[in-house]
Every structure is written in C-alpha cells, then in structure tokens.
C-alpha cells in the first residue's frame, strides 16, 4: 500500500481504526453478554418448569401443563414451545405436536432412569431435585433451547424456540451496525480537526520561515511568540540559518577577496607587457607573442572582474549607478555589431522606439551583449538572429532568439550555473567562460527584473530579459556616502 503522504489523513485514519476496533470488540462482547443473559434467564425459567413438570402426574395432565407452560415461562404467544415426555421404558408418554423431529434429546438425558442408582428416599427427607441440562440446537425450524431433566418417573424435555431472541439480537446488531460507523465518522472527523489545528501552528511557522528565507540569510525566526513545542525546532532552524549564512558569506568573501588580490598582479603584468609591447619592433615575433600574452591577461582580468561582480551579487551588494537609458538606440547600435561580427547570419529586429529604463548603463549593456554574443556563438551556420523589444504593462521585455540545436533538458536546467558551458565536446571550440549568463541574470535581478530561458521551440533558443516598471520609476538614492562593504 502506498504510504499516505498526508499527516492529517493518517491521523484521522489511525484514530478511526483504533476506535473502530475498540468499538467492534466492545459491540461483540456486549452482544454476546446480552444474548447470554437472555438465554440464562430462559434457562432459569425452564429449570423451574422442568422441576415442576417432572413430578409424577396422570397422563392427561401433560396437555394442560403444556398450555400453562407458556404463561409460566412468560413467553410471548407467537414463540413456539414443545414438550416431550418419555417414561422409564423409553415409551413416549406425551409429545407436543410442535415437537420438531430434528431435536435430539438423547445427550441431554443422563441415562435410563431405571439404571440410575437412586438412593432410597430416607423418611422425612425429600430427594434433591434432579439437575436439568440445557442445550441449544439448530433444526430446520430454527434455533431451539432445550431443557431436559431426568426424574425417577420420567424423562422430560421442554424446547423453546429462540427465534424471538434471535430477532431481538438482530435489532441490537442493527443498532451497532448503524451506531459504530457513525461514531467512527465522528472520531475520524475529530481527529482530522485536531490534527489540522495542531498543524496550523506548523503552517504558521512555515510561513514565518518562508518570509525569513525570502528576506535574506541574515534573518532569524522570532522565538518569542512561538508555541512551547516549537521552540526547539525554531532554535535548530535558526542555528542552521546561521551556519548557512556564515558559509555563504565566507564563500562570497573568498571570491571577492581573491578577485581583489588578483587585480594588483594583473595590473602590473598588463602594464609591463603593454610597455614592452610598445617598445618592441613592430610586427616582430617578440611583439606578436607579447600581444598574445596581453590578450590572455585581459581574459584573466575579465574572469576576475566577473567573479567579483558575482560575489557582490551574492552578498547582495551589487550597487547600481542608475541613469536613464534608451534601450532602443542601444539595441539598434548592437544590431550594427551583429552585422560586423557575423555577416552570415540573417538578422531580424523588431524594436519598439523610445524604450527608456532607469538602470546601470554599463551593466545592462553587458547583459545585452552577453545575450547577443551567445546568440552568435551558438548559432547554426547560415542561421538567424531575432531581437524583439517591447514595452508592456509591467515594464520592458527584450527577447533574443537564434537558430540553434536543441538544448538538452539537463543543460537547460543548468544553463545559468557558473562555469557551466553545456556539453564540453560540443562547445569547446567556442570561446567563453560560462560566467556570462549567470552574471547577466544577477544583473537583471539586481534591476528587479529577470533573465529567463524560454520554453524550447524546435530549432531555436530564446532568452527573455524583463525589466520591470520599478526599474523605470523607482530611482534609488544612489547619492550620498555608501557604507563600505566590510571586506572589499
């Protein structure tokens, strides 16, 4: 059986099962006790009658006795009663017409009265009443309770139909059959409600925790208003957050520090290389190799620069120098580049005029360049690039799509990861660091926008950059002295 995922349903079911088995057990026992009590009462009545009937009497009295028996026993008239009397020789002295032939009495009578070693009654002393024996038998006409007694004079058996008792017991059973499921429903519902109310505090806690994680790792779950039972949980969670925050800060500080420390040697290396390059004989081999070295240093600087930006983004300290940017003209300028960079590609552009946003010009240019250069790098031979830019109610969206091979789902999921460059065999020949997209998305997000990879379409890849209206209207006060980041 599949494990039930819902705690509430499990609790309700379990309570219902427990209460159900208790109730069913209780019902069975009480049903049996009631039945037993009824039969016992009948037995007691029968015993009296048997003793009375068992005394010697004329033959014709049996008939009259049978008639009075029903009254004596206190049995309703519709319940059949039968009497059988046998003398010591085994001859039937009297047999009611209702006597069911299927009733077996031989086991009830102890033995032939003649063979009984009856003690001779001592004078003045009554013989002890013979002990009757009882039995329930099932015949074609229903269940019968038979009481039998053996006296020195005769063997008497009285059978009373149990149909009435069975009917009464059926009523009791029906009451149980109706009542128990009802009670079970009540129990299950109650358990469901109780589980719900106890879970609601967990839900409240979940909400608080969700708020905390959304607002940043430095947040903590407040402990004051929490239920006693949850304090420990909250403490553990807060400790976890603290460890997480420390680890995260360490990692981000490390890359920030590393990037910073790398800058000085890079500056020296680049400066000296450049100076020597200028002094070398133009076009000489030494100048050529110096220029290659210089290019590599630039590439290294580029990685360092991006790592530093990413570490700032991680630390939530990417600050923006917002100005008004005309995205339309920016994109138009970049279209000119595509023509130079990749003359073989077919370029389609639908750029709405006057797309102004408030943003950091350098950073947004970087995002757009990253998208466009990716569209060129990962294009198909004789492929195409399409750029659309529109204003919509919430802001501005820019889509850059290009002809491409299908991106595998595993790559799609990881495309924004740092240093991730897809299938190494396929992309090795293409230059790049695998930092661009990751950084582009961080930049978009720091502008309260986003960068997403659109759902796959056959033969093309499409990225959408969204800059929301807060980017347009909300102008952060970038003026004034900013508190320095603690580690830079």
């Amino acid at each position: 059986m599949a494990k039930l995922r819902s705690f509430r349903i499990r609790i309700a079911l379990l309570s219902a099962i427990l209460a159900g088995s208790a109730l069913v057990g209780f019902g069975l026992i009480s049903w049996w006790l009631i039945y037993d009590a009824k039969v016992n009462r009948l037995d007691a009545e029968l015993e009296n009658q048997l003793i009375r009937v068992g005394r010697p009497r004329p033959l014709d009295r049996w008939h009259a006795d049978e008639a009075s028996l029903r009254r004596e026993l206190g049995i309703p008239t519709n319940t059949p009663i039968a009497v059988l009397v046998i003398d010591a020789e085994g001859n039937v002295l009297y047999g009611s017409p209702q006597w069911d032939a299927g009733l077996e009495t031989q086991n009830l009578w102890i033995s032939r009265p003649s063979s009984l070693p009856f003690p001779s009654p001592s004078p003045g002393q009554r013989p002890p009443p013979p002990a009757p024996r009882f039995m329930t038998q099932q015949t074609a006409s229903g269940r019968w309770r038979i009481g039998a007694v053996t006296t020195p004079f005769a063997q008497v058996a009285i059978a009373v139909s149990l149909n009435a008792v069975t009917q009464e017991m059926a009523i009791v059973r029906n009451i149980f059959v109706v009542a128990i499921p009802g009670v079970l429903l009540l129990v299950a519902g109650g358990a469901w409600a109780i589980a719900g109310s106890s879970l609601s505090s967990i839900q409240r806690l979940t909400q608080v925790v969700a708020n905390v994680t959304a607002n940043g790792l430095e947040q903590r779950v407040p402990i004051e208003s929490a239920d006693l039972e949850f304090i420990e949980l909250i403490q553990v969670f807060n400790q976890m957050l603290e460890r997480l925050e420390r680890g995260f800060k360490q990692a981000s500080r490390f890359s920030g520090d590393a990037a910073h420390e790398l800058k000085t040697p890079l500056t020296i290396l680049q400066g000296e290389l450049e100076r020597t390059l200028q002094q070398a004989e133009p076009g000489s081999e030494i100048q050529q190799s110096l220029s290659h070295l210089l290019d590599e240093v630039r590439r290294l600087s580029e990685i360092v620069r991006k790592l530093l930006l990413l570490s700032l983004a991680d630390a939530g300290q990417m600050s923006l120098h917002r100005t008004k940017i005309d995205l339309s003209s920016l994109l138009t300028e970049m279209l000119e580049d595509i023509e130079l960079l990749a003359p073989d590609l077919e370029v389609q552009a639908k750029i709405a005029p006057g797309l102004d946003v408030w943003g950091d010009r350098d950073l947004l240019i970087q995002v757009l360049q990253n998208l466009i250069s990716n569209a060129i790098k990962y294009n198909l031979p004789k492929g195409w690039i399409q750029i659309t830019a529109n204003r919509h109610t919430q802001g501005v969206s820019i889509q850059v799509s290009n002809a491409s091979n299908e991106i595998a789902q595993s790559d799609r999921d990881r495309i924004f990861e740092r240093f991730y460059r897809g299938d190494p065999a396929r992309t090795r020949q293409v230059e790049g660091l695998g930092l661009g997209l990751s950084l582009a998305r961080e930049i978009a997000r720091s502008h309260q926008g986003d960068l997403t990879l659109d759902p796959p379409l056959p033969g093309q890849t499409c990225f959408t950059l969204t800059l929301f209206s807060t980017t347009l209207k909300h102008r952060r006060t970038d003026l004034g002295i900013r508190r320095r980041s603690p580690y830079l």
């Binding site: 450049e274 250069s373 293409v430 790049g432």
Partner: protein, 227 residues
C-alpha cells in the same frame, strides 16, 4: 603637465610613471596617503592620480579632505576594489573620473588629458593627426577638409587609435574598448571595421595612416609631432 601620483604598489607605479613620462608628464610619486595628502595641499598640481587603497590616509579620504578645503584640482581615482561602489562613492565625493585596475596606461593618459581639459574649461575637443581632424563633440571626422561619414563604432575606433598615435593596440584591446567585454575575441570584427574606415578615408588622402602590425593589431601612424 605636473601630476601627483599616489600609489603604494611600486611595480604599478613604475610602469605608470614610465608611461606618463613618455607622454611628457612630470610625475611626483609617493607611496602613502599621509605624505601624498601633504604634498597635494602644498603644491599646485595639474592633476592627481589617487589609488584608493594606500597606507595611511586612503584615497577616498584624501579626496574628501581636499574637496572640503576647496581644492578643485582634477582628481582621477585608481580602483582595484569593488569598481561600482568605488566609482559611485568616488564620483559622489567629487572625483573627476575613475579607472579600474587592471588598466592600460594609454587609457589613463587619455582620461588625464580629458579631466585636465575639462577643469581648464578647455572645450577644444579636436584631435588632429596628419590629414585627419576628429571633433569629439560634433562627432565629426574630416580628412583634408572633406567630411568622412562614419558609423558610431567606426568613429569610436578611429578616435581610440588617433588618441595615441604610434601606440600599438592589440585586437582584443580594441575589441574590448569599442565593443565591450563579452564578444568573442576570435572574431574578425576589428579587421572588418578597420577595413571600412580605411576604405572611407583612403580616397581622400588618409591612405596608410592606420597601420596593421602583423600578428598584433593596429596603430595610427605617428607623424612625429607632439599633439
């Protein structure tokens, strides 16, 4: 031009000083902020180049103190730290420009010229090398008095080369400066662009002014005269 250069890293200071001197700057150098601040107060320099992270009084404090005391000497910040934060803070505190490490000396020189010109109220934004005249404000290039129609990328590239005649620029350097960071360095976009500029100026007397350096990149021919 008299420059005060405050930078604690001796090796950086060496090539920057060498580069500046080559271009005819007179450079005073000191390696800590306290002394640098004293000198900045004592002497009249045409411009200051301040590293932000120096021992003693740091670059931003020097900048702040100088501006508070009414000194309006042009100041250019060197930053190795968080570029954006420093850039913003520096500019807000009254720096005239900033340049992020690692930088090219040529770029530093161009910026220095720019800030000094700006502070002197000198609006002369004309670059003249050989037959070519480039007006930065009008964004107009004339070659032997004929207007050359250039796209904005072509104009920027030509300006970049003309700014430092005789200096060799690698393709990557040009690509980065004109197009930005994220383009593929192995493309021939620089070559294509240079070809287009050449085509436009060759017919009107500009032939041979943009020189190709085999295996390296390009430079603008130096006619031997100082700017």
């Amino acid at each position: 031009m008299h420059i005060l250069f405050i930078e604690d890293e001796a090796k950086i200071a060496n090539f920057v000083r060498a580069g500046l001197k080559e271009q005819g700057f007179v450079v005073d150098y000191c390696d800590n902020g306290d002394e640098g601040y004293r000198r900045a107060l004592d002497n009249t320099y045409d411009a200051l180049v301040l590293d932000i992270m120096v021992p003693g009084k740091d670059g931003l404090s020097i900048l702040k103190s100088l501006r508070r005391q009414g000194h309006n000497v042009p100041i250019l910040l060197l930053t190795a730290r968080n570029e954006l934060d420093d850039r913003l803070e520096g500019l807000n505190l009254g720096a005239d420009d900033y340049i992020a490490k690692p930088f090219f000396v040529e770029e530093l020189i161009a910026r220095l010229h720019a800030v000094v010109r700006r502070s002197a109220g000198d609006r002369q934004n004309l670059l003249c090398v050989g037959p070519l005249k480039l007006d930065r404000i009008a964004r107009e290039v004339t070659c032997d008095c004929q207007i050359v129609e250039l796209t904005s990328r072509e104009f920027n590239l030509l300006e970049y080369l003309m700014r430092s005649p005789g200096r060799v620029f690698t393709r990557t350097q040009i690509l980065e400066h004109i197009w930005g960071y994220d383009f593929n360095p192995s493309t021939n976009v620089v070559d294509v662009c240079v070809q287009r500029i050449r085509k436009k100026i060759d017919g009107i007397g500009g032939a041979g002014w943009i020189e190709s350096i085999r295996g390296v990149g390009y430079r603008f021919r130096d006619d031997g005269k100082q700017r």
